[in-house]
Symmetry: C2
Subunit: 750 residues, 2 copies
């Protein structure tokens, strides 16, 4: 654990710069606007340990798959997040010396991320010889105009002598990735121009062997400044402009850099991409930095209006939940159905790939409540866009139907561990579950009956081919899978996977009753196929232990040595840092909810006693070594009135990055698990459910808090839910009146 920012309800603030935690600071102060984003590295030179990372959504590169031993069916390439052409760097010289906080003497340091407005600000007084200059930097990636990055630098000469200030602004394609596999660059420069009015550079990703599209980006940088333009430079891979001026004692100066970034994702030809960047740059030129910032902040204001969570009596919790909401919205707010939510968002490049099942399992349930329905619908649409890739993936394994990938940018699987790539197929169930979840929450049946049905049928056909019939048991089985608990691999009849497969077949067959005849004909879906699905579903084997009254994680789980986690020597934890992989695999210890994930998905279908028995059996064996574990357990614990356990689980998720619990936040934030704290509060503490078109709540206030309130987007309404020791108050902020079941009592909210 490491906490480097002060507790504040709306801000991350620090007054010190810790070189040993520079990367952690950079991860936490990342900003983004879905379209692009960046880590919180400094604009000016920093010669200490730093990770300069700028990323553009949907821009990636396919790297040759690297394995020790090839297995049939492995994908050809691994899609990597790549570092964009650097448009952020600005060199600041004072009397000929480049400011470098890793080496220079400085004071009055403040670094602040304003989450309410989405603004990153930094100020400090640097001493260069006798010169002392106050430097303030403000930057944001506009939520109002996706292509716009803006940075304002202000200078004040605090010395009693004049200082020579020289500012060099660059666009530089000479960048590499941090990722260990890489030492190569990704960008070929196509065009570069440097004029006093505009620095301009166009670059394209280098050719690849896999026939995936190359990406072109154009960047137009304009500068508004009180300084004198001095020169412009064009080098092999970069363009730069130099501004200079003598700053008299006490004098001030300002330098604004505004970069407009356009890409081949939105425009076809290089000329179009470039024209768009020029035009956008020209269009914003007359607007002041403050006005641009105000437009940006207004969008953030609307988002907070729709989804702020207020916690009373615990400032740390308050900061935690707002930080999670801020970073989630910076990563994704549903404006582009070609984008998704990468595990590190725009905050790092670890893991690669854009899309994991995390999105459907943990992000969709969050966005359903925290944002307008179209945001979630775009997440669903993303999978429909990639349906042909999912058919390709199934075919790679010799199977019918569609298998959505574990890791992907374009729908084609790019992960390469056989036990994951080929076997962690439960992901396919969650893709279907998200459609069900969206439909249940929003009441909008138009997706499930159209594009959603295409997806469901592809998934159902996959399951129908992937099961086998065991003559001995007279049941359908699924052998050779990895469940959500990745601390076991290649198991047979994982209860969670079998349950989801059975449900997918049933749900798809059920939806088939309401889609158009044309749709059925287009998909060549016959009553015989539907009947076969029903037969499989009815005869699906779901391991259950009569004696313990629990669902069994997989066939031989109960033969293990079932010593609970609490009885392990504490110095063995976390297991993934202390045990050999085989030791982990044959142990009973669970990385993240597995049987309990299935119970969470269908929480209303189990009796309290069923839920309790399974929770009491599995949770003590769970090490929660995935950031995705805590939320599910928090909701279930709350459901079972285990309020203390629910709060413990909440705490594991709410400040995971802010307090660097896993000691790896320097690589980037755990974006997809950030939904966990919201889910723990709304589905957990407040007991929010939707059943038979009915919104339900059953709130309690954790001991550690005096109360909390949150806003919920539900079927065109915006509701505010206030929970404190006196009870629950609901108000309708937008939309038509609505009946809500609160603690089993119908309440009309007007």
């Amino acid at each position: 654990m490491e906490r480097i920012f002060e507790i504040d309800p709306w801000k991350l603030v620090t007054h010190s710069l810790d070189p040993g935690n520079k990367r952690l600071q950079e991860s936490l102060t990342s900003i983004g606007n879905e379209y692009m984003g960046m880590r919180g590295m400094f604009e000016e030179k920093y010669s200490g340990d730093t990770h300069h990372g700028i990323y553009i959504g949907g821009v990636w590169y396919p790297d040759k798959t690297r394995v020790g031993w090839w297995k049939n069916g492995y994908p050809e390439y691994f899609g990597k997040v790549i570092n964009a052409v650097d448009f952020v760097s600005v060199d600041l010289q004072i009397n000929g010396h480049s400011v470098d906080l890793a080496k220079d003497e400085f004071s009055d340091f403040t670094l602040e991320l304003d989450m309410q407005r989405g603004l990153l600000t930094r100020s400090f007084v640097v001493k260069v010889g006798q010169a002392q200059v106050l430097i303030k930097s403000e930057r944001f990636v506009s939520a109002a105009q996706k292509e716009l990055y803006a940075n304002r630098l202000q200078f004040k000469n605090l010395s009693d002598q004049a200082v020579e200030l020289k500012v060099t602004s660059v666009i530089d394609a000479n960048v590499i990735n941090e990722d260990a596999n890489y030492d190569e660059q990704f960008w070929n420069v196509l065009n570069k121009q440097a004029q006093p009015e505009e620095l301009f550079l166009t670059a394209q990703t280098i050719p690849n062997d896999f026939g995936t599209p190359r990406f072109t980006v154009a960047m137009a940088a304009q500068h508004q400044t009180s300084l004198q333009a001095q020169a412009q430079k064009v080098t092999d891979q970069a363009v730069s402009g130099i501004w200079q001026e003598q700053l008299a004692a006490g004098a001030q100066a300002v330098f604004e850099k505004r970069v407009l970034v356009t890409t081949s994702r939105d425009y076809e030809q290089q000329a179009e991409i470039e024209t768009a960047a020029h035009k956008l740059a020209t269009a914003q030129a007359a607007t002041s930095f403050d006005d641009l910032l105000a437009q940006h902040a207004a969008v953030w204001h609307q988002r907070w209006e729709k989804s702020d969570v207020v916690i009373s009596g615990n400032a740390e919790s308050q900061q935690g939940i707002r930080f999670n909401l801020f970073q989630l919205f910076s990563t994704y707010y549903g404006s582009d159905s070609r984008l998704n939510i990468g595990p590190k968002g725009f905050t790092g490049e670890k893991y690669g790939g854009a899309t994991y099942w995390d999105t459907e399992a943990f992000a969709v349930p969050f966005y359903l409540g925290a944002a307008p329905a179209k945001v979630s619908r775009n997440l669903l649409q993303y999978r429909h866009n990639q349906l042909s890739g999912a058919y390709h993936n199934a075919q790679q394994q010799g199977l019918a139907g569609a298998l959505f990938p574990m890791v992907t940018f374009n729908g084609i699987e790019c992960h390469n561990e056989w036990e994951i790539t080929f076997e962690e197929i439960h992901r396919n169930g969650t893709i279907a579950y998200a459609i069900y979840n969206y439909t249940r929450y929003t009441g909008d049946r138009s997706y499930v009956q159209n594009d959603g049905f295409d997806v469901l049928v592809g998934i159902a056909r996959f399951w129908a081919d992937r099961v086998h019939y065991s003559k001995r048991q007279g049941q359908y089985m699924i052998h050779g899978v990895t469940g959500p608990n990745e601390y076991e691999n290649n198991v047979n009849n994982n209860w969670y996977t079998n349950t989801l497969a059975k449900w997918c077949l049933e749900y798809t067959a059920q939806i088939a009753q309401e889609v158009s005849a044309q749709k059925l004909a287009d998909l060549e879906l016959t009553s015989a196929e539907l009947a076969h699905w029903q037969e499989i579903a009815q005869q699906m084997y779901l391991p259950f232990d009569e004696k313990l009254g629990i669902f069994v994680q997989h066939d031989t789980f109960l033969d293990k040595d079932l010593t609970p986690v609490a009885d392990l020597p504490q110095d063995q934890l976390p297991l993934n840092q202390h045990w050999s992989w085989d030791h982990i695999l044959r142990s009973p210890y669970i990385k993240q909810a597995d049987v309990l994930q299935g119970i969470y998905y269908f929480i209303d279908r189990f009796t309290p006693e069923e839920k309790r028995r399974n929770f009491d059996f599995y949770e003590p064996l769970t090490v929660h070594e995935s950031s995705l574990s805590a939320a599910t357990h928090a909701v279930l614990a709350a459901d079972l009135h285990k309020e203390e356990k629910a709060f413990e689980m909440y705490s594991r998720t709410a400040r995971l990055d802010l307090d660097n619990y896993n000691n790896d936040t320097e690589d980037g934030l755990h974006i997809t698990s950030m939904t966990g704290s919201w889910l723990a509060i709304v589905q957990g503490f407040a007991g929010m459910r939707v059943k038979d078109d009915q919104l339900q709540l059953a709130p309690f206030v954790p001991q550690e808090w005096t109360g909390y309130q949150f806003r919920l987007n539900f079927r065109g309404r915006l509701l505010e839910v206030v929970v404190d020791k006196n009870g629950t108050k609901l108000s309708l902020l937008q939309g038509e009146p609505l009946e809500v079941l609160v603690n089993d009592q119908l309440v009309e909210v007007k």
Copy 2:
């Protein structure tokens, strides 16, 4: 299937050169003398597809482990067979043109591997413009003097004009490996000298990051020739000598290259290594090529005397078994207990590593009968030499005792697939079994009571820690293993593994009764520990199906879809070329004997009915996609009087490489599986067993043959066994008279 050599009882002969099968030709004409060996590439330039490979036993390089995703416990490096400094190449110029059979016009081509003498001969007439020259090459790696490689080239000018003949002999350290992971070189040249009398080069393997020893090799090349020495050259990485002469019409010339190779494996200091090479070179200089060849052939003669197998009525079978014996003896004949039997011997560099469990499972049983007892004892001693590495491997997995590696050069595991490295631990049982097997066959108890006991105790301690107690079942279990059938991974309670583990504990406890008190004290072996082993062994879970009356391959095997191989569409075979890895894993198809391997090991402990039920259940599910599968099945089929099946299995192993059944012999020969044909004949057709110090035979003659005879080394005797339609005749060629049980009747052999 591809057959490029003619059928001949003692030779591989061809009169054509097929450029498309050049690598296959090279693999099949490999020669070696345990100490070093080489593929059958040409000495002179060959610009077509070729694999120039020369290997020195025990000389290797540790390559950084490469994986897609790291798992805790993976080894740091992967030991690779490396290509030695090239001492074979000789450039042949005729009238200024380098002979190159990939491009030149030639006739009268003959290539012949004489297995009786261990000599590779080639001759052809090459046309260069008007010139026609007959060139003949003979080469061998001396079985009489391990450091000696000899090559005689003879020339005859068939033209009616004089030709200019120029021969350039080199020693060249500029070599790389074929292996895809590599693009780097392995050799730093330490010393190089080129004089008319001797070319000399010393090289050392480049530094590595893993602290493993670097190897130094010195090579002294002497040349005996009728040609005139012209010049010598020293370049960065090579030394060469040039000889030249005008050959009148009809004239002949001879050029001999003899290279003496010494290494740091036998001498410590560079100076000693070099002195040894010089001395050896000088010592042999006065001996003619024919005499050197005669000395070499005499050793081969002795080997054949001890172990020739004669097959009547089937020339293909005859050639097959002799080829296998020839290549096995070229790879290993027990002269150095620091060496072992790599999967490709000296015939290729695929797979890396020197030692697999193949040695104990398939090579020891062969050498026990086909060679003097010390050969097998040296194979056992090799493991004792590496016992500390085995302790290291167990520790890497957090386990007690010793785990012998899957793949190694020095005892340290260097393979990196978790399902193999960590889980294919049955190998440890076979290491112990080989000690038992040696002791049973030879009657020599001195190994098992001393060094062998150290090995047994390390192995027993590993198993005792690796099992776990299942409270639910009240038995000890072994979860998370891969059996010999590598087409299933990470299974629970593999019958073969559990059976071997149980047996290891029992056998070690039994041997503990006969070792010295000092030995027990040295190993700190207490009666409590012995009692604990016995308890585990008694309560070991061995899956058995009452209904089918079979041992169950692992816990859930019988839940699979058990469609036999015969019912699969033939175009799906071999599975490893047609199915995705997960499909293979969840299928019931068996790569090589698994339950049946265990029954083979303890063939006398099961009733014929038990053996038959298991064979009839498992063999139809077996795809035999490992070269190690056929021998076990041949022996068991013969045991069950399934003579046709036994012969089918024999045929799969006897000419596997000669007929390139698996279509991969171009990468090198399947050395460790070459024992299979001998085992099929001796243990299979002839029913050879040793039980209670009694040699037993129960021979039959396969339909396809008229008879066969083989020689058996048994407890100081050399027996000849002749089997034909009239019965079995035994003769004693060496040693004391002996009683043998033939078809359950005691026969005295004098």
